[in-house]
């Protein structure tokens, strides 16, 4: 381009000549690239955000980028990949300031994090005319990405009269003002709600710590690094203790520490810029930084106590009750001698504890490996769910008296030695979907605590779960209150089959949610095959037994194979199901951030298909007419974060709330940045209270 002049002391005549030359160059050079007010490329439209008439003084104007849904453009520090847009001012009849960048959002793109804007954005700058027309010639380059990226180029000119008073199109001015409010302001003492206590990094470490002292509202703001060569864009680890908030940023591997660096701090609404903050040298292993996790402010014993209480309550939840009723049934049974009962109870307790310890260990192992998983993860696997369907189906059939297993199955869930142990194991496995009161906080803490603390919490849950049963066994007096054995027991046994059938139906539904509609079919075919095999096995014609075994084996192999394959192919009905939820949006971090920035109230329902507590709350409270009306009238942004399948984003969001299980109900009142967590057993009154208390 012909003309590189510093526009601040640009002489108008020179400028106009220059423009003419430029116009000529454009016209002759490419034919079509006549100087124009807009620019466009794939997925992007750019236009001026400028007044119809400039006033004599400084005016903030800008480039308005309209970006297709799902695509994004970048902040000044683009993050782990991507590139900031470039604005090369070829000339202007006045003074042009630096580009002003509204604060960005973090955009997790596969293995990377970018800093930018999803949706429309305005890049602003100040312009002060020094002639009778405000003329600007600029060439633009931008990058727009979804996962793949497309660069765009354009030339734009602006030519507007200058008069005594500035005149804007009202909607353009509103747009300008909206984005101008998001441009970080320079921190000047008291306009910053926090204080930067310390920025430190070990010269040979791989992190950088920033500590904020919080004032009144102790909300943790988002912090974006300005220097992408020093710090990665990945969200820093945030730890709050009392008034201090510690941010731990990952450094770009091998990057040499600069003496100082800068950040942009945002509460989601406004932003502040911290320039040239000196980086203090820190010891190589900053004390208390990485090796001592936060404890959520609660002493361990309290958390363990909560775990025990939570475990005890679990006995009454609909998931555990059927399994326990089997065991109780065995206990009342005639062959259960009083002396053997305590042993029985202890075996059951051992089963529970060993399983909890194993689950805890697995969770710790996976945590150490960096995987983000949570409580109930065993029910996120289709083969496990199918296995449970099979088990409960066979048990229910036996209870109904369709087939006397003699002591075959009773060995498993009934009276013999291994039985009580296996019942304990089973109880833990099916307990997962019923997060009861007290459990959420304890489990959430378990993911953050050091290994011994986490294990203590898991064992606490186990102790709680096993306790009522062991007590019943240990004190025969209690047991004696139960009625004496008799024919009523046969009736009871048949009755107890029904909770099991109900469990089978529920598990089938879970399977359907995991692998799609064929889940129902696969599960039901397996069940049919099992019943048919029983029937075959009872009829003693030649080879019928072999046929029965063969049939069961074939059904098992086929159904498990199909379930596993379907789940891996990701044919879950998740997308379909989320869109069909009236008014509820799927979980999207950016959309939530934008709703919060609009001061809209936000309600997030962290849920899963296998979580019965969640489904009960959903049907009885969240989808009741009165609550739906309340949400609608108060313009609440509703989000359904579905954790049925492993979703690392949702696991991370739960972790930030200090939780590792569902249900969690997070309520952001209008204008609030920090959520209030509602109880795990919801009532309509609690939702009403959200709107009446204000």
């Amino acid at each position: 381009m012909g003309c590189h002049l510093s526009f601040s002391f640009l002489n108008r005549a020179v400028f106009l000549t220059c423009c003419r030359v430029l116009l000529l160059v454009f016209a002759c050079g490419t034919g079509s690239a006549i100087a124009q007010e807009t620019a466009s490329g794939d997925h992007v439209q750019v236009r001026w955000l400028a007044p119809d008439t400039f006033g004599p003084g400084e005016e903030t104007i800008g480039f308005y980028f309209e970006v297709d849904p799902g695509w994004h453009v970048y902040w000044r520090n683009a993050g782990d990949s991507g590139a900031a847009p470039r604005f090369d001012f070829a000339g202007a009849s006045g003074e042009i300031g630096d580009i002003l960048w509204p604060f960005p959002v973090r955009l997790p793109i596969e293995h990377l994090t970018n800093l930018g804007y999803e949706g429309d954005v305005a890049y602003l700058f100040s312009a002060t005319p020094d002639a009778s027309r405000m003329e600007i010639v600029v060439s633009l380059e931008w990058l727009v990405c979804k996962v793949d990226c497309i660069p765009g180029y354009g030339n734009m000119t602006l030519s507007r009269p200058v008069a005594d008073a500035v005149q804007w199109q009202p909607q353009d001015k509103a747009l300008r003002d909206r984005f101008a409010a998001q441009v970080p302001v320079t921190v000047t003492g008291d306009n910053f709600p926090w204080t930067v206590a310390n920025v430190s990094a070990a010269p040979d470490g791989d992190t950088l710590q920033l500590i904020l002292e919080a004032g009144e509202g102790a909300a943790a703001p988002e912090i974006f690094p300005l220097d992408g060569g020093l710090l990665t864009a990945r969200a820093p680890q945030v730890e709050k203790s009392g008034d201090t908030i510690r941010y731990t940023f990952q450094r770009v591997p091998g990057a040499v520490l600069t003496p100082d660096t800068g950040f942009v701090v945002s509460d989601g609404e406004r932003a502040w810029q911290l320039d040239d903050i000196e980086i203090q040298a820190a010891a190589t292993s900053a004390p208390g930084s990485s090796n001592v996790p936060v404890d959520g402010g609660q002493p361990l014993w309290l958390l363990v106590l909560a775990a025990i209480a939570g475990g005890a309550i679990l006995n009454l939840m609909p998931c555990v009750f059927p399994v326990l009723s089997i065991k109780l049934f065995g206990l009342v049974g005639p062959e259960a001698a009083a002396s053997g009962r305590l042993k029985e109870g202890l075996r059951y307790a051992a089963g529970v504890l060993v399983t909890f310890a194993a689950l805890g260990a697995l969770l710790l192992v996976l945590r150490a490996g960096g995987a983000a998983i949570g409580w109930g993860f065993q029910l996120q696997s289709a083969p496990v769910v199918l296995g449970l369907i099979l088990l409960f189906w066979v048990m229910a059939l036996s209870f109904s008296g369709l087939y006397e297993f003699g002591h075959h199955l009773m060995n498993l869930a009934g009276n013999s030695r291994g039985g009580a142990f296996v019942t304990g194991v089973l109880a833990v496995f099916v307990a997962a979907p019923c997060t009861g009161p007290f459990m959420g906080a304890a489990l959430g803490a378990a993911t953050l605590l050091p290994a011994y603390g986490a294990m203590a919490i898991f064992l606490g849950l186990g102790v709680g779960l096993a306790l009522p049963f062991v007590l019943l066994c240990a004190f025969p007096a209690l047991l004696n209150r139960l009625p004496a054995p008799g024919p009523w027991m046969e009736t009871l046994r048949q009755f107890l089959a029904f909770p099991l059938y109900a469990t089978v139906i529920w598990l089938l539904w879970v399977l359907g949610r995991l692998v799609g509609e064929s889940g129902w079919l696969i599960g039901a075919m397996l069940m049919l095959a099992v019943v048919f095999a029983f029937w075959l096995g009872r009829h003693q014609f030649r080879g019928s037994r072999w046929l029965a075994w063969g049939l069961v084996l074939a059904a098992l192999v086929m159904s498990f194979g199909a379930a596993n394959k379907l789940q891996q192919n990701g044919s879950g009905s998740k997308a379909a199901q989320v869109t069909s939820d009236q008014g509820w949006q799927p979980y999207n971090r950016n959309a939530i951030g934008q709703a919060l920035a609009r001061n809209q109230a936000v309600f997030i329902d962290y849920t899963a298909a296998w979580c019965i507590t969640c489904q009960v709350n959903k049907k009885l409270v969240l989808e009741s007419e009165e609550v739906e009306t309340l949400f609608r009238e108060n313009d609440v942004y509703l989000v359904r974060a579905d954790w049925t399948d492993q979703d690392p984003e949702i696991t991370r969001a739960l972790g930030e709330l200090g939780r590792n299980s569902v249900p969690v109900y997070a309520w952001y009142a209008p204008g609030e940045r920090e959520p209030v967590l509602l109880p795990q057993i919801l009532q309509a009154e609690m939702i009403e209270a959200l709107f009446t208390d204000e």
Binding site: S81, L107, A371, Q380
Partner: protein, 210 residues
């Protein structure tokens, strides 16, 4: 926008993956860091030959991540900048390997035969036709974030440079003559026995399509 949750590999695989991850915790953390030993690799190139870090002991080695459809790769290949760099340093007996870590079905993935064709059409002047790392193991071990992400390994097997090819993250090839080439500078400095002034930079470009 959550691109991970929809990637099709579901929970059970992830669970197993998590266990595998635990078995190899070093894998998740080890990236190529200037001043430290370069991570091991062993990949088959488009001509079917196995290329391992061991093969280059005592020699200089440059690694370059490639995706033929990435605008930033096009910037450096369309202008001939990358090939000129490859030629200049391979002529000085420096090894240069160009790696494709795009997974099958993702942008930039190439079958061996296609890779040979692309090497020809792009006038690739590296020491081998493309290394095909479709499972992303080498890319992840090095922490390759973008195409083109560049690494320099010295004869002692240490990383001396990791980052972008130059200091200008524009996609426009017109900026190349005005850009400071980090890779050339780092190679010249370290081969002359001097300390590398810029040993790391923000790797600009497209995300590697693992």
């Amino acid at each position: 926008m959550n691109t991970q949750g929809t990637s099709g590999k579901r929970s059970f695989r992830k669970l197993l993956g998590g266990v595998a991850l635990f078995a190899l915790p070093a894998l998740a953390l080890a990236v190529a860091v200037p001043g430290e030993k370069a991570p091991d690799f062993s990949e088959v190139d488009a001509a079917g030959e196995v290329r391992s870090l061991k093969d280059y002991e005592g020699q200089w080695l440059v690694l370059e991540w490639f995706n033929k459809d990435c605008p930033y790769v096009k910037k450096h290949y369309g202008s001939g900048n990358m090939q000129a760099l490859q030629k200049k340093y391979t002529d000085q007996d420096i090894n240069w390997l160009t790696v494709i870590s795009s997974a099958k079905g993702k942008q930039g993935y190439l079958e061996p035969a296609q890779a040979l064709e692309v090497a020809k059409s792009h006038n690739l002047s590296a020491s081998a036709p493309f290394l095909l790392d479709a499972d992303g193991s080498m890319g992840r071990a090095y922490g390759a974030k973008t195409t083109p992400h560049m690494f320099i390994i010295n004869p002692e097997g240490e990383v001396v440079y990791a980052g972008a090819i130059d200091d200008n993250d524009s996609a426009n090839p017109a900026v190349i003559p005005k850009s400071a080439n980090y890779v050339a500078t780092a190679l010249d400095e370290s081969m002359a026995g001097k300390a590398v002034k810029t040993a790391s930079s923000r790797a600009y470009g497209c995300s590697v399509k693992y």
